[in-house]
Subunit: 342 residues, 2 copies
Amino acid sequence: MSLHSKKSATIEDVAKLAGVSIATVSRAIRNPEKVAESTRKKVTNAIARTGYTANVMAQNLRMKRSKMVMVLTPSIADPNFPGVLIGLEKEAHARGYGILIGNTEGAISLEENHMRFLATGVADGLVLLTGHLPVAGAPQDPATQLPPLVAVGRPLEATEASFVGVDDVAASKMATEYLVSLGHRRIVFVGGGTGDVLSDLRQEGYRKGLAECAEELADWRVEGDGTSEGGRAAVERLFIKDTLPTAFFCFNDNTAIGVIAALRLRGFDVPGDFSVIGFDDIPFASNITPALTTIRQPRNKIGERAMAILLDGLEGQNGEKESERLHGDLVVRESCGPASRG
Amino acid sequence: MSLHSKKSATIEDVAKLAGVSIATVSRAIRNPEKVAESTRKKVTNAIARTGYTANVMAQNLRMKRSKMVMVLTPSIADPNFPGVLIGLEKEAHARGYGILIGNTEGAISLEENHMRFLATGVADGLVLLTGHLPVAGAPQDPATQLPPLVAVGRPLEATEASFVGVDDVAASKMATEYLVSLGHRRIVFVGGGTGDVLSDLRQEGYRKGLAECAEELADWRVEGDGTSEGGRAAVERLFIKDTLPTAFFCFNDNTAIGVIAALRLRGFDVPGDFSVIGFDDIPFASNITPALTTIRQPRNKIGERAMAILLDGLEGQNGEKESERLHGDLVVRESCGPASRG
DNA sequence: ATGAAACATGAAAACGTTTACATAATCGAT
DNA sequence: ATCGATTATGTAAACGTTTTCATGTTTCAT
């Protein structure tokens, strides 16, 4: 069935061949400083001759841990997911842990299924990309029965969960300042949905960026939903108003792509008539026309740091709630230009 | 440490409360038809009262299987990966299996690490996105010691491995036929690398598409490397020749994006001066300018079928080598137009 | 009523590893 | 040489579940 099942050597085989007890074999492998050099050599040779590999299922049962971390995501298709997963997997793998994928598609029933699965002991820790604590599938109260966890990308409000993500406020401030530096004085923030934590954080940064200007600039938000279609629709709603912006700071790149498409559909030029900034630097931001100016999320680093914090906690080195907000980078491409209309 | 570790109920607790043996509890859960109704009720009640969840680590050890499948990929960042993963995870989850991610980044040393991990019994099966059998990290010969496996996307030549992917030949034939139907008579195939199995299959389809035309059309391949940069470079090399194509059938969407960019850089219009078709329909193919006409890979379905075949084999229902080549769809957008120069 | 078959249950072993505790041997100080 | 401390190793138990095998009870056919 599995790699070791076809007459694979067990620790008993090694012990017989080396002429020692199974305890000594185990010790030679796990605590070699407690085994005499000559004995250790006998064990090492026997391992090489038998091709012995420890059975992780037996280890897991004895040690009551699985060396697995479940990554719970509402969307594998999210453009940020692969980059975060790369970092998560890299750190996990380096420390001997496996990554288990749990895809909820934002559905409560799937979330409950995954929690039921988790209740079997299948994972020692949990990485949450969902932005909320999971709904319990097992009868226990999740607040007290969840394994150690870390939230990624979206902080969990009013919880003790550790968090790693981009510094949304600082990055958004940077993006807005850049538009201000180009002379833009009517800058609209296209949000990702009313009540959305991330949108509010990015708007906070947008406001800080506006405040850097000596003039008093209007705080102006219209609502998208984080998709390109939402960005498109937000532009439609804007163009029934008398006053237009000269620049758009968008919740994310998808939104920016929709905004650009809607502007171009109306015969406008980007960046000639309007400037547009996104957020994320998703893989294809540089391939659209015009190539998108955006904030790059350090996705790999976010994944790595999240896993490191989780595993440090698991391995007893640090159980405190930790939050890391990593620096986002302004990536200037082609979608922004000087304000052309005062 | 894990969900069940904080004074979680064991089967002993359930047995005591129900007043039966642990064997009966196990039987009531796994073979209920072998347990009297009244006994079963006592067990069911005790389970509900204790909140018992079976310990998967004990089950795994006893039953010598882990209910995990490892997905080995050379590139999490590949645009096709998320779609395939969605299908893999959906099927695995529906059948009670977990998905383990193994990222090799195309590096032999990482591949060996993952195989060492696999040798511990951590996974019952293997999904290979790598296009080759993995290099052994454990001392065993991989040809005889690998768990059941299925290749995805890239067939493994000269092996007994099952395979699921798009029907490259038929899909490429369709794309080429479409260009022919638009009147194109000089169609170049931009490959993904010399000796690349997938490129050869897609070229085979390209040739069949050409053969559908009453006129005898030239079979013309230039080499990219599967990246947009490779597509760009292939165009540069083409433009030092006397005869130019009127249309490009590209190995994949990335290549097509590069080809389009290079043509536009030279002041040409797509599709006015040249038509371009990609392959994959990656998530942002519709967002570039012009929106890319391409072949859509049924990624979700590929993942689902691959996992189903693998698990069928694991669960003893079918151990034969199976290959499924799924139908790709032509997605007509804006990057193709009638041949404008004879 | 008797005997065979079917049903139901419990005890014990299995799975493979880790580690506590007991014991023997060795080393170092007096 | 003796005693205490240190080093090294083996035995047995633990981990939690599944399933084999033995045994008792019930049902059905003669």
